[in-house]
């Protein structure tokens, strides 16, 4: 399979010294998407940053999957609020010094 954007899950687990079951659990919680091609599971490269974040939260901070899921939602919310805040600040600039 020639696709530079896909990373084999087993290879990813070896290089990150984690169990395959962790990625499977992330998938079951809907936190990552796994693409299956010819019985081989792959992670999309665009998810790399998030998956590594989940690994750090789980292995380094001892946060369980329920916690990771909740944190994931909250971080997403923060991101949305920050984008909204920036947009509103830009709009506000229009009315300043009138």
């Amino acid at each position: 399979m020639e696709n530079n954007d896909l990373i084999p899950v087993d290879h990813f687990c070896v290089t990150h010294s984690i169990e395959l079951s962790f990625i499977t659990s992330l998938h079951q919680y809907g936190l990552v998407e796994i693409t299956s091609i010819e019985e081989q599971a792959y992670l999309n490269e665009s998810q790399l940053c998030d998956v590594e974040k989940f690994i750090r939260l789980h292995y380094d901070l001892d946060i369980n999957l329920e916690g990771i899921e909740a944190i994931g939602h909250l971080l997403e919310k923060i991101k949305e609020l920050q984008a909204r805040h920036t947009h509103l600040q830009n709009r506000l600039g229009l009315y300043e010094n009138l």
């Binding site: 010294s17 984690i18 790399l48 292995y59 946060i63 600039g93």
Partner: protein
């Protein structure tokens, strides 16, 4: 280089046990971890301190050395040499088992740490990790943001030449893949995130892709109509003023606003808001004519 009280960083007493250290570190790390505090430089700094404190106090050998020399850390090497000479062949400490604590990318240790322990950061898992992402801010003027431009910026000692597409917004973030910190243990490099800060240097205000500008016209042009010239960001434009234009009247000039980001040849609209200036310091003749006008009404 100032002495760092690692016990204070972790909120512990000097007699704290290994479990207390681990517990305190975990608790504070959960609070200040960069993954949980995106774009928070203070939290990032605090986390590095915690990491460093844990690196020292979580390792029995390092902790012993730290406790032994404390504030005299600057002379620790000399002390160590003198002690080894007097002890002859006796080894100083038997290295304890790797604490296993830490596990974060322990880059950027303080100069205090480096001078005492060198640059050896402990790693609990020898995993390949993607490098840390860098964040940078780039300030542009509204005029700069109007046209696509190439700019060289220095990030961590490296000069990077980037193309900034026209129409970039204030607060917009772009990602440059692979321009972050190098990966750990052969992992891929992180990314560079650039946040644009746009300062308004023009006489216009921007809302999305639309521009708003105030234009003063005299009473006579407002009443009788006429033609005026306005300076837009791209060129000078001639604009007709219809007779009877009221103060605050807004005219939309389609496609004369700000360029759309990464959509070449497409622009927002320009709104010209007329502000009618009343004549002051009237001559006697002007006053007379205004009186006649008033009488006609």
């Amino acid at each position: 280089m100032a002495f760092i009280d690692y016990y204070e960083v972790l909120g512990l007493k000097k007699n704290a046990g290994a479990d207390d250290i681990k517990k305190a570190y975990r608790k504070l790390a959960r609070k200040h971890h960069p993954d949980l505090n995106p774009n928070d430089k203070e939290a990032h700094k605090k986390f590095q301190q915690l990491n460093e404190a844990n690196e020292v106090l979580g390792d029995p050998e390092k902790r012993k050395k730290y406790d032994l020399y404390g504030k005299d850390w600057e002379h620790s090497e000399q002390f160590e040499k003198a002690r080894q000479q007097s002890a002859g062949s006796r080894r100083s400490y038997s290295p304890g088992a790797d604490s296993g604590a830490g596990g974060f990318d322990g880059d950027d240790f303080s100069s205090f740490f480096s001078s005492m322990f060198g640059d050896q950061g402990g790693k609990s898992r020898q995993a390949k990790y993607r490098g840390q992402d860098y964040n940078a801010e780039l300030t542009l003027s509204l005029t700069d943001a109007y046209t696509s431009r190439q700019q060289t910026m220095a990030v961590n000692g490296k000069n990077i030449r980037i193309t900034i597409p026209a129409g970039v917004e204030n607060g917009q973030v772009i990602k440059l893949k692979g321009y972050g910190a190098p990966g750990v243990n052969g992992g891929p490099a992180g990314d560079l995130y650039i946040t644009f800060l746009i300062n308004n240097d023009a006489k216009m205000k921007r809302s999305g892709n639309d521009l708003f500008m105030d234009t003063a016209i005299d009473l006579y042009t407002a009443v009788l109509g006429g033609e005026i010239t306005i300076d837009t960001m791209a060129a000078k434009l001639k604009l007709k003023v219809t007779p009877g234009t009221q103060n605050g009247t807004q005219v939309r000039l389609k496609g004369k606003g700000f360029p759309l980001y990464k959509k070449e040849g497409q622009f927002g609209d320009l709104y010209v808001v007329f502000s009618v200036r009343l004549p002051v310091d009237l001559t006697d003749q002007q006053k007379e004519l205004f009186t006649q006008l008033a009488a006609l009404k």
